[in-house]
């Protein structure tokens, strides 16, 4: 096993385990911390795919900004321990597990046998993830979606402020 495979298997194992642990935690703060670990591992996996810029954005925006917002809201609402919340669902939970197992087996049925195609990354993958290349594509081919994004963010700011305000006149 070479270095690349070791890194991939390590990051994949940690991200899968932290995703499972996230939904098993009673305390939402622990869930949020496991999700942050998951996002860091995904950032590492993006690096193995030669997407350096997206990996940095993943760590800064997801593991940084968005998860800090989540932790801030959890602590603002002082939910702390979730034990008061009734989590036992009975037949609903078993139905959900059965449906998810069905979905997972369908996806595995599609993905597992197809090892013969796309065994190695594209030749220009290494220079594709740089800030220079991303910036060039973003400001030429994807200029209009990029500008629309600013409008979306403005709408989100206004919406969040209005919704979280105490009283709406």
């Amino acid at each position: 096993m070479n270095f690349e495979q070791i890194v991939f298997y390590l990051l994949a194992a940690v991200s899968a385990a932290s995703a499972v642990l996230m939904i098993l935690q009673r305390n939402p703060v622990n869930s949020a911390l496991f999700l942050i670990l998951n996002f860091f591992c995904l950032g590492g996996l993006y690096l193995t795919l030669h997407a350096q810029f997206i990996a940095m954005v993943q760590v800064l925006v997801y593991a940084g900004a968005i998860m800090v917002l989540f932790l801030f809201v959890i602590m603002l609402l002082s939910l702390g321990d979730e034990r008061r919340l009734k989590e036992s669902l009975g037949w609903k939970a078993y139905t959900a597990i059965a449906l998810t197992a069905g979905l997972l087996s369908e996806l595995f049925y599609i993905f597992v046998p197809s090892t013969q195609t796309f065994t190695s990354q594209s030749a220009n993958a290494a220079q594709m993830g740089t800030v220079e290349y991303i910036g060039t594509v973003l400001f030429t081919k994807f200029l209009f979606p990029f500008e629309v994004t600013s409008l979306l963010l403005l709408a989100a700011i206004v919406g969040a402020v209005i919704l979280a305000k105490k009283k709406i006149q």
């Binding site: 994949a12 991200s15 899968a16 995703a19 996230m22 939904i23 939402p28 949020a32 999700l35 998951n38 995904l42 996996l45 993006y46 795919l49 030669h50 997407a51 810029f53 997206i54 993943q58 997801y62 900004a65 968005i66 917002l69 989540f70 809201v73 603002l76 609402l77 939910l79 919340l85 989590e87 669902l89 959900a96 597990i97 449906l99 998810t100 979905l103 997972l104 595995f108 993905f111 195609t117 796309f118 065994t119 190695s120 990354q121 594209s122 030749a123 594709m128 993830g129 991303i134 973003l138 994807f142 994004t149 979306l152 963010l153 989100a156 919406g159 969040a160 919704l163 979280a164 105490k166």
Partner: protein, 100 residues
């Protein structure tokens, strides 16, 4: 080299964990975090495809998904705060005022 479908299998597994979390958990904030997990697993498959096909469009799409996820997180958490202020709970079984 690692074949493309290893990344897709990991992505599928994480997506299913997110689906299970949304269906089973009752805490609105944890449900919301599971939605973020699903968005991220799809991002992983997009970047994997982008890198193996040599096409930057996948990475651009991930860039926009991240923007939408940030906006969604801000608005969704504001909705959860407003709900908690009105009903003193984040249990999604008790938040059923839209149910006919």
């Amino acid at each position: 080299m690692i074949p493309l479908n290893f990344y897709l299998i990991l992505s599928a597994f994480m997506f299913c964990v997110g689906v299970l979390g949304v269906l089973v958990r009752r805490n609105a904030i944890v449900v919301f975090m599971c939605i973020e997990l699903m968005l991220n697993s799809v991002n992983l498959s997009l970047i994997a495809f982008s890198s193996y096909l040599g096409d930057p469009t996948g990475q651009m799409l991930v860039f926009f998904v991240m923007t939408v996820a940030a906006a969604e997180a801000a608005v969704g958490l504001a909705i959860i705060i407003a709900l908690f202020r009105n009903k003193q709970t984040v249990n999604i079984d008790e938040i059923n005022i839209l149910k006919w």
